[in-house]
Amino acid sequence: MKKERKPQTLTNFYTRVLDVFWDITKRKKEAEEASRMVMVVRDSNDAITIQDFEGRITAWNRGAELMFGYSEQEALQMKIWQLAPPDKAAEQRDFNRRLFAGEKVASFETQRLTKDGRLLDVWLTVTKLVDAAGKVIGIASTERDITKLKQVQEDLRKLNAELEQRVRDRTAELETANKELETFSYSVSHDLRAPLRSIDGFSRILLEKYSAKLDDEGKEHLGRVRAAAQHMGQLIDDLLKLSRASRVELRREAVDLTALAGEIVLELRRAEPARPVRWVITTGLAATGDRQLLRVVLDNLLNNALKFTSRQAEARIEFGAINGDQGCAFFVRDNGAGFDMAYAGKLFGAFQRLHSPADFPGTGIGLATVQRIIRRHRGRVWAEGEVNHGATFYFTLPETSQKP
């Protein structure tokens, strides 16, 4: 042991602590073991103090000295509640009284006042010290400075509250934006369609009732006016579908894709009964997703396939599935006009078209809608094609796509 190198005051303190342990345990300890305890107390950053029945401080370690700023000599002249801030002094007195009365010891959070007047948050642990007869003769207190911890906690709490507020603000902004979008779609559907009907309707009345007064060129112009009005009507309808595909709440249900494709094909055949098309639909294709939205996907892809095979003598349109690196992918394949892979990236952009309206009419919104719906299902959509050799559109529905 090298106790003699330590300052005199501290030695006194260690001796007292040792005495106390002696009394508590009543066991004879080896000097070595005792010295370990001394080291623990000495090197502790926590303030460790002992007080007697009257609250007089009777032991004071270096941790206490550093924390509270009082030297041992000063501290030994003080009562423990002098360390408590004015509003906590009563609490401390009361606590001491209850301890000596035999109540259970506890740990709790309180505050301490340093010599230079700083307020510290401390975590206080108290231990009753009893003599051989079991009588309480003192209280050992360990105080841990948690001021910084409390500060960090408080900062965190503020940060969290700020974050929550920001999330609330953003959500409110988004809700407003969504409402505006809805109002906008409503206006689009209602207010833009009416004037178009007027343009189309009165053009037709002119063509019908006043055709005698129009020459061929005049009639052709009116025909163009009508075609343009109808095209714009289609644009509005498609834009509404696109906006709806983003707005509606996604439902998840088991969807029989084979049956869905069958329904659409039936409608398409009814619309153009004269066209010979060979439809090849794989049986047993199923997925989990929003039935209505997936219908929009298949409707667009199958309609496109039909449109782009319109110049094919023997049109063949297939709906099936393949297993690839990313699991199962569904596909719609046709042997129609195809497209140049150099422009594959443009396929899914709104208003992007790879064919002139004279060749194949369309609004350029269908595939953008398909992409939006597939993305909302966390899937992927891509296309492969070659000019005059057909196109294949693939999509994945990751959740529970199945291939038979």
Binding site: S189, R193, A194, G201
Partner: protein
Amino acid sequence: MNEKFILLVEDNPDDVKLTLYALKEHNIANRVVVVSDGVEALDYLFGTGAYTGRDVSDRPAVVLLDLKLPRVDGLEVLRRLRADRYGRRQPVVVLTNSKEEQDLVSSYDLGANSYILKPVDFDRFTEAVRHLGLYWLLLNEPPPTGSGTL
């Protein structure tokens, strides 16, 4: 018995003109009463306001009701009509530009008999008007003409 007639509730004069044209085109010569907003529609049906004193037991075979109307909108007209003992029997077809799901749901919830989206394409529009005229003026059996007010 009075001749069957249509009450057209429509604020857009072009649409009024096109509807009348379409009816004439298909030789549907029945009378069409046109009112241009919800207040006027309710006044006509209940014999109030400008229509005080009208014989309200003379009811239209069908009300063609636009939804977006000045002052009182179509849904409110429907609501007030359905709250009335006789008005609840009045055949009402919503004829609108709105494809919004909420409008569809509200209209049916409030007891619309049918919901027709006005096509932009005038050929399809006249076809729709023709169907409406034939169905509601010829095929459909209207509720019996009760005594008392609507």
